[in-house]
Amino acid sequence: MIWDLHCHLNGIPGRTPDEKVARLIEVADRMQIERLVLFMGAPFLIAPTPEQFREQNDQVLQAISHWHHRAFGFVYLNPEYEQESLQELDRCVKDGPMTGIKLWVAKRCDSASVDAIVRRAIELKAIIYQHTWLKTTGNLDGESTPADLHALASRHPEASIICGHTGGNWELGIRTIRDLPHVSVDLGGGDPTAGLVEMAVRELGASRVLYGSDVAGRSFASQLGKVTAAEITPEEKQMILGQNLRRLMSPILQAKGVRL
């Protein structure tokens, strides 16, 4: 069972979200990927206005509308607009089919304005996916580091939080969030560097490690290969490739009455 935590519509051929998701599923089938999590629309917008993030989320809602048996959606929010983000969270998760939240690079996640979003996510049992990168070449102004995520997650031990890209510089990312058992790491979106999965499993335990691709910026292949080639047990690979994400999503799926 393979569930991909991290997929985008941007960069996929197609004139509409329906065409893009159809192509995405076609290629996912070649890799035996059963379920995909989609977030954000096309084009990528690093600091979307409320109108823009609603439009981006509409693209995802449209894309998953015919693929509920294959695809989930996370709602894209901008913490710079706290009230509008909370309203959008309710529209897409409480009153809609989405199951998690995507926070990208509009505002660093240690800021207080993210707390209200996290508190509402906890009420809704929604997963929080926070992009993190610690770039040797320098971060964007609003781009969160693993340390920013640690600060946020420390304030919300009941939240289910995912450290996007394992912090980019993954050796540092893993060390940074190691002491927070409610934080998992997303393996996607970086080069298929050997040793990443082994270190994550050794330091965090396999239950906190999630396969994601960051397709279409990345390929399914390069990101799956990190897991399939890793020197870990077959059981640990199964957990990383799908079982962990299914477990994390179970509370909200049950709350929504979704049967798998």
Partner: protein, 257 residues
């Protein structure tokens, strides 16, 4: 059958890698159906005694399986008497080619020594590999930061070396799609797939670069080998194009040296 044109032996400077023992890497390559791998050495990144590094490389290749590992010597054009390293690669070790790592050696392809190297290789009928990058700049060690190699100067140089095979390693992740097409048209320039990304990336890549100019590679052991292998599964290619990429192009390069 697979020929992997981009593997390296020895140790990555700031991390142990699961397959950084030659015997382990060789076993993994064989297990994955690789019949030949063109092996450079990570020692080429920072060592100054490249004669020793290249000798070690040859010995390692012979120690596991001479048919499996084809040594590709490291050359640093910033070192004094680098021509002697080329001579030894060719005359002492019988190497088919050399690998440049300009990002780590502090020169550009506009450097007159680069043209001299092209002349030497053309004269000896050797192939040239240029590692455009080894690692995503965003994840590099702060004290080991390097930039991707600027390939533009190569375009004009190729006119004088139309028969020299030039293999650009780890190049296709960059945004220089137009330049890559121009390079492929200007000479015998090949691109490996280790850093190829995107949904069904090979299907897309063959629309901008002909399959005759693409070579299978894993960048092992720095990258997980499976990442390259699974690219063949993710893209649906006509059988002839697939065979060109997995091995036929590499066989042709060697046969024409």
């Amino acid at each position: 059958m697979i020929i992997d044109v981009n593997v390296s032996l020895s140790r990555w400077p700031n991390r142990r890698l699961p397959l950084d023992e030659t015997s382990k890497l060789a076993a993994a390559l064989k297990q994955n159906g690789v019949s030949q791998a063109w092996a450079g050495t990570f020692d080429g990144l920072l060592h100054n005694d490249l004669a020793a590094a290249n000798k070690w490389l040859v010995d390692q290749c012979r120690s596991v399986d001479e048919k499996l590992l084809l040594p590709i010597g490291a050359i640093n054009l910033s070192l004094p008497a680098w021509e002697e390293d080329v001579r030894r690669c060719y005359e002492l070790h019988g190497m088919k080619g050399v690998r440049l790592l300009p990002g780590y050696h502090d020169y550009t392809l506009e450097d007159p020594r680069f043209r001299q190297l092209l002349s030497l290789l053309a004269e000896k009928h050797m192939l040239l590999q240029i590692a455009v990058r080894q690692e995503d700049p965003r994840t590099q060690h702060r004290l080991l930061m390097t930039k991707d190699v600027d390939l533009k100067p190569l375009l004009t140089l190729l006119r004088d070396f139309p028969n020299l095979p030039v293999i650009l390693l780890n190049a296709v992740s960059s945004s220089a799609v137009e330049l890559h097409g121009q390079l492929a048209a200007a000479g015998k320039v090949y691109f490996d797939i280790a850093t190829l990304e995107g949904l069904a990336g090979l299907e897309r890549q063959v629309q901008s670069l002909p399959s005759e100019r693409l070579l299978f590679s894993s960048h092992s052991p720095f990258f997980a080998f499976d990442s390259a292998k699974l690219k063949l599964q993710e893209s649906e290619l006509p059988a002839p194009a697939r065979e060109q990429i997995t091995h036929l192009n590499a066989v042709k390069i060697l046969s024409e040296l």
